[in-house]
Symmetry: D3
Subunit: 335 residues, 6 copies
């Protein structure tokens, strides 16, 4: 039996097709040492009113990123079906085991959900989630808004983003949605290695796919949560799902580009990282953006890490200690 | 043999009494499964020039706090003995096993060094470190500057602080050193439960003890590192150890008070924490400072956590998820 | 400062002295790597009406025993203060960290609460719980009913029990309460090694202390939960705290004795345990009560474990595999 | 090279074709950090006398289920070849690493052997075991008796079972063997999701496949062991392998059915499970079979779990705590 | 996209084609919970001078074997390009995560690199390393010298070895290189199960592949390191890459054979291993080479393990305790 | 109750006072999560014949040292009481949990038994073992022979040793026993830090205490086991307990001294250790005895570790990797 013919073991406890607001679960049977007949229960909400477009809103693709889950748990509870035309499918914590463990990857199989697409119905728990999204949720959606932040080990300037795509019409719709989101920054992304990403799966199906990076460090701030909430409603309004006007951002979004691998500043050494520039700071090519202090002795000179192009610091390694091979900082260029 | 008579097993590989700059180790023998005749090697630097006062500068009392270690590894390497009058003892990562593990407590014995004083020469590894500080380092010092930040689970507005003390003269000298440090904020602390703290050990010996909280989340920022570096040099200049003028802060420090247990906003529930106010934000008694969203289902109402007095938010729980019993936020009052 | 003078760090969030039903927590500050300012929150309920006697009802002394917690969480929610004369203090899961982890001992410090009395206010988390019981809860109580079952590794016939005591009057009151509990079996216990037990702490303070063993294996059955619920209400009625008549048991309780160490059948070998007699079965001295099959090869003869006196099987090792030194079975004698 | 051509790495240390009783091992080379040239040694016994049919008897497919291993280690040692006509292959603990670890799945690869068929000769350790059974043991067998019980997290009424099959003759032979086993209960099973099961592998090869559920909780009782021993000898007698009469059960077996997914009572909530009905108890549709008490606070109402059809309780979640998504109870219908 | 078309994610930070000595890394992106944008950094050195043959020298295929890494880190630092004609590619610790963890297999995926060939560009970390060797490094090489020792759980007489091959010319070149290595012992190996080995991958590509076993126990000795250093330079000289004469060994190498599975002495029992013969000792078929003492009781007789052919002891189980299924000793035959 | 009055919880299952050979256990009750009523069972053998002196022979004080346990399990089984005059108490694996885990310290409490004397009857498992030795076994003994080797992380030249003692008569008897043991090397030890050692406990009670270091690396060799067996019988013969002549060593023992802390060569750096001298090799002050290669990059120079006095190498760090603070080598001086 080929995989395409194996049914997903995941069962939704709610009806996607009925009007109104329904809260339920995606139930994924998971037999294990501590529960022979147990399941993973992924919360899901469907809010529907009539026959308009469908938006799929997802948080917790990585389990240690919080702006999306906060905005989406809140939206799931408060979105009035009467204000909706179409369908909003909300999965606030898509890799739910990772979300409960507060880890990037699933504690069950150590799989990064965002590299697991198209998944497998007879694979590991995370692969089964990817397969269900691929074969059950994505086909229903017109637009996907998948929330990311930096997680415990990265921190980002808050931005919304979409990919450069071969189909100009699809790309244009995606960038229009990014513009509607109205984050402080907006990014045109050229993904080098997009194998296995949720993004790729959705885009190959012709969907409008919008994503974000809204902070990081394994926390959320009131300011970044506000961006996530406003952006979500704005995108729904932009699609015509949500009635009412979009809420403008306090300042116009600033478009950024990551033109090449030179954006990334890598550390070849382990040690104590001293950031020399904070997020949003301007850097010129050759500037020291961080220093890596050896910690095995006092008195040793730090290694200096330098920017390779002019721009502003959009991301950085978050933990105080850095390991060899870690990305220490990312420099982006204003468009 | 009483503990006071048991010699410390820790041996310093450098001479505290000679002039110049010396980098070495506090070597603590530690026999264990993976090294029968192994040791913990704690880096230490002594910079001495003549007979002036002695400052003991310590970071890494908690192993996941980084402004102190960055400033002190940097100072140890760059402080020119010719600019010094007296002695500067620098231990950039006092609970070195915790620092290497990036954890608050020691991975060896799970002991919180800052509750382990006066320590024990025949105790666990962390208790031996405390005992060495108590009996070998503290007696040499006139002033102690012990760096703290929030660590992986708390985040703070950057402040320098000292305790209200029974001895007004000792207290005055401590607050003068805090003023000299010139952090953005300064705090007069009344410690409720000070048993076992490094602070208490030093103060009971009559030393001037100054501490900080300079950020948190298990990271450091360029801005907070700059505060730590400037403050350290300012305190040394204030003591007359470092020649030259103190560097003024960009803005005068703002003094704060934590008048009672009402400062602390506790969560009785576990869940996803939505901060409603960011660090430094003004709050009034009764304001919701955070909401705790249940995550076991979608559609459930969050619990609201409210401030109990007027002030500004000086600290908060950092991770996106909160456990029952965690301190969610701290409100301080301007003096 | 002697330990008796160190205040307990545990704070109750409710008032023990007011009338009515109150649900709250014993909050125990617990600073650790994953929460610098965290706490253990132990649920507690106080139900009070006027000035009658005080009963302290505790479950979860061991964290993998369930009849007590089920009966007590249920009682806490349903007991009407109007039916009470006096005070009922209910702590359904006393070693709360162990209860949440479903383990006998605390996952934090691996301490067995029932060997930790009188505890220590500056000790480990479990020692702090014992100290609070010793110094804050026990002095308020006239009677203690502390629920036990076999936990994950033992299984028991359901019985209520009290100890033979030097004070005949105190002993008589305890056995009267056991009789009132009306379990299927009742046991007069002579504890050989009672150092550190909750029982001993309470008895030395002159309290009436009643305990149970109501099943085991890390589960509960409808039948054993019913025994716990009925017994609890019967003891409260017996004390005059609960109005109304005691509910008689379906059959009179059968009193048992464990006269000596010969009751215990120990395995000196590890292997696969084949029980030859089930709980409640009659055995004669010399009977094989279990066989231990070696599992490293097929074809090896099992070791036979034999009863050393006549009686009935009141307890047994629960898991399918047995380790050298485990108690395989216990034989008690009818009185 | 396709997998079918890769030889199994497992080597049997005994000859399957010679008459008499032989005890040996299935040796599976397993190179790992703690033994570069190590092996998994799975005990096996072959008892053969002449050319009759072959029964394959297996226990320990899941490593925490004990009636099968006890009955089979005992049978391997005591079965006299002179009483046999044909061949009995006994593997008392098929997933031997899981059996030694007392866990459902293998501690080596976390694979559930009963979902690993047909296995892979170049896969993980558990997949290699499945492949050896598939390609070496199953082809030799006429009948397979594979013992199961509930394991550490489920408990069952004792029953023997076979599947509804597309081939009526094969199905009839299987149900006849179930009847011969003479357990207290017998079940006709319609497996919904049978991918990867040992059962399916054997049935697709045309073998008579009989299985059991004989208790659970990670233990065995004298009563359930007796059922397993009697059933094994009865099935061998039924096949004509063992001379002598079958031993009748004390009472005729009662046939049960699990007609649909409505048999299963699932908990959507985590908490403390209060069973309201014990195994074997009669239930009507709508009856509360269990209550799930929240444990984060005292005073909260439990969630009630209700039967969805009339019948008797044949299985239940065993541990005292339940997780969201666990099967709490199973209701079967008398035929 | 077939795997052959997926590019390796590994990037070399140095140029393989330029003359001179270059030290760099094979950088393997590895996103994980503790570093979202992290990498594995495998040190590599390329020393090139003109257009001669290319030798690929690898250590740390297994992470707990040390003669190779010591000789190769040393060679990488000291080999003067001026003395070279051709190219020397040095990877001192090929399975770098295993090498840092001092374990045979990778701590990341538990994969044995030497059974992972040809690897997979989209597989686990270890499979990605194998794939890079297969597709990027091997095609450049004329000869591969892959260092092994016994690791933590085996100990070997020091020998160099090559395989019997179907191509006599290729085989002859390999044995000539072994002879040039000039280890105390040399072995002609017939690999029974060579699926997935680095050796097989190289040999199938027509390369000359030479390997070693130079000691073991998870350590290195001055004497075995000297063998590794001398052998490496001798092989490079033999190939004409290194100018100068080969250094003769103190004594001529002794050629050994492992003619069949009878070489291996396996323990079916766990216990305390008493070696009766040390490495290099002469044994006759039937000699007791080790005794396995049971350790569960005193007074039990040990199991005796006997050699099955005449020869000398070339390898043994190293740790003091042995598990069932471990290889206790290996007997080889002088040619 | 002072500790001296608390009885040991350990019970011996055999009679120390009866003639003949008896094998049994020291049973130490140990309640834990995986066995509520479990025990540690330490094998012990007593061989007695009449009223002569008593020797206490112990192995496994550290759990990863094997010459002692092998010699003593063997002796316990084979020593004929008829050849004995007096009593031989044999505990082949004193820290039995550590011995089963193959670790230096106990896996239960991480305590090093050889630093736990005099122990505590109400302490951890290891402290209870020490207390039983102190209060029950030592008082019975005239001589103690406590076997040590290097364990997994050290390797030693084989020697027998005793301490310089304040009492010259006691010291002379100890060195006479060392001479009788007839190891290849004999050492006069001046213990700097002897707090908590078994040695000290025995010597303070006036006993003759003899110890050994017979190899290491977590293994045993035929040659070192032979030394242990011969030495044991020689010491028993020397005491007059064993009839017959002592077996002379092949060569006279060579006496060594460790005159000061200069014997110890410490590594301040972590890395890959290249030994430059093997055990028994002659070294002169200033010789490089080991080099520590950095492993984070290729091409870095190693750190050289030099001897500080003339002598021969008697011990070395065993694992291939070294940590900062490890003892890399020990140089002793011939007497």
């Amino acid at each position: 039996m080929t995989r395409a013919l194996i049914p997903s073991p995941i069962v939704a406890t709610i009806d996607f097709a009925a009007d109104g607001a329904r809260h339920g679960f995606l139930r994924l049977p998971y037999s294990r040492d501590d529960s022979a007949w147990g399941s993973v229960m992924i919360p899901i909400t469907v809010i529907r009113n009539g026959s308009g477009p469908t938006a799929l809103l997802t948080g917790g693709n990585h389990g240690d990123e919080y702006e999306g889950p906060i905005a989406l748990f809140d939206l799931a509870r408060t979105l009035d079906p009467a204000t909706v035309s179409g369908t909003v499918i909300i999965v606030p914590a898509l890799n739910y085991p990772a979300f409960r463990a507060a880890t990037r990857t699933s504690p069950i199989d150590k799989v990064n959900l965002n590299r697991a697409f198209p998944g497998a119905p007879d694979g590991t728990v995370t692969q089964k989630i990817a397969d269900y999204v691929q074969r059950a949720l994505l086909p229903m959606a017109d637009l996907v808004l998948d929330f990311h932040s930096g997680g415990r080990t990265l921190d980002f300037l808050p931005f919304c983003a979409a990919h450069l795509l071969p189909n100009p019409e699809q790309e244009a719709r995606a960038f229009a949605a990014v513009e509607a989101f109205a984050a402080p920054f907006s990014v045109r992304m050229l993904e080098i290695d997009n194998v296995g990403m949720f993004d790729t799966a959705a885009e190959e199906m012709g969907k409008v796919f919008v994503t974000t990076e809204l902070g990081g460090g394994g926390t959320a701030r009131a300011a970044t949560v506000a961006i996530a909430k406003r952006g979500t409603r704005n995108v729904l309004a932009h699609l015509g799902i949500l009635s009412g006007e979009a809420e403008p951002a306090p300042e116009p979004t600033r478009w950024l580009d990551m033109p090449s691998g030179d954006c990334f500043v890598l550390s070849e050494d382990e040690g104590l990282m001293e950031p020399m520039v904070d997020l949003g700071g301007a850097v010129a090519a050759g500037d020291v953006v961080a220093r890596i202090h050896p910690v095995t002795r006092a008195g040793l000179a730090p290694v200096e890490l330098r920017a390779r192009l002019d721009g502003l610091l959009v991301a950085r390694h978050f933990p105080g200690l850095v390991k060899a091979g870690d990305c220490a900082a990312v420099v982006a260029v204003a468009l």
